[in-house]
Assembly symmetry: C2
């Protein structure tokens, strides 16, 4: 994603701390109290400009959404999206995906979304892919060894890699689409990227991978 | 596959019983004696006109290949292909895939190939798909709960179905390509169908699914 330095981002995030939670590790094990209900918690790792998480929050008021984004210059746009939707069931965290278990207690999360993650195509960057076993282990911890990952991408190489990575890790693939927009999948919420790719007629790949106990 | 009735097929198969084995159940548990060696046995279920199995036999002289094809009017062409190659390590069986365990002892087979299997797209025909759980159970038996299925197809719906079918059955996906001819996979032997589809630039999907003990 092209990013411009935004010197005002720090102040903007601080002003919107009801949406972008500061020092989120203080809520580890207590996220239900932040939302004021016991609804399931779904997180998006790499939430980008926030169109997906905002759209999901509007579509599913009985689910709590937390979008995680490392880059301040990107998450500020997600803040605006969340403000526009006025959905009370979505929060944002400006943290690294490596920090998940500092922020969430074991089993506190019910589902992980990954959308159009950076493909890191070079073999030597494999460990940076968000579907790598090292990351699956982090998701597994906060999911408490249950729940699922829902992943979509337009990147063929990353999708091929992810299918085998999920399967070899022991996850069960319960849904696969190799052309999401030509399938009968209902309720798809598009990301900003997805809208662009879909307009070009490029296929979007999607998989659901479950932990089975 | 378009099939023409060939009244001479029965005689032709009988004349070539060194290639198309008659009453194959008599060799159950004794296939190594048919080949005269202890090399691994790989079978292709739905071998069609035989280009794949003949090509594989030439490429891998240390593997024994057995092609299974239900339709007499199709298998006669496979007989010709095998005769042309003069490969000693390939045999054909004119049987239904349902009969695998009548013909092979438990664990006698080391790998199963499925190529461009009939997609049976209607939900009510799901049980006829060769990647359905009922068939996986048959493969599992003759494989002795080890080994792998190598499957390729140009049919998106069948491939999506098969990935989840394999995974939900408990197999591990160790290789996935969503565009085989644009990948760096080496040693691919094309079927007759595959040559046609590839010439049109349509993607070929391929997966390897393993039993893990």
């Amino acid at each position: 994603m092209r990013m411009r330095h935004k010197p005002w981002a720090d102040d903007y995030l601080a002003e919107n701390s009801h949406i972008v939670i500061s020092e989120p590790s203080q809520y580890k094990g207590k996220w239900h109290s932040v939302f004021g209900n016991d609804n399931p918690i779904h997180i998006e790792v790499g939430t980008g400009k926030g169109q997906f998480i905002s759209g999901m929050a509007l579509q599913n008021p009985d689910v709590n959404y937390i979008g995680i984004e490392l880059f301040k210059s990107v998450i500020v746009t997600a803040v605006d999206k969340v403000k526009q939707t006025e959905a009370p069931n979505v929060k944002l965290l400006n943290i690294n995906a490596n920090m998940l278990s500092d922020v969430f207690a074991d089993g506190e999360v019910d589902r992980v979304y990954l959308n159009f993650s950076d493909p890191w195509p070079k073999k030597r960057h494999e460990k940076r892919r968000l579907t790598n076993h090292a990351f699956l282990k982090k998701y597994e911890q906060v999911l408490g060894g249950k729940g699922a990952i829902h992943f979509k991408t337009d990147n063929r190489g990353l999708f091929e890699y992810s299918l085998t990575s999920f399967s070899e890790y022991g996850l069960v693939l319960t849904f696969v689409s190799l052309d999401l927009h030509q399938s009968d999948f209902e309720g798809n919420v598009m990301t900003e990227y997805e809208e662009k790719f879909a307009a070009k007629g490029q296929p979007i790949y999607r998989v659901e991978a479950e932990w089975r106990t």
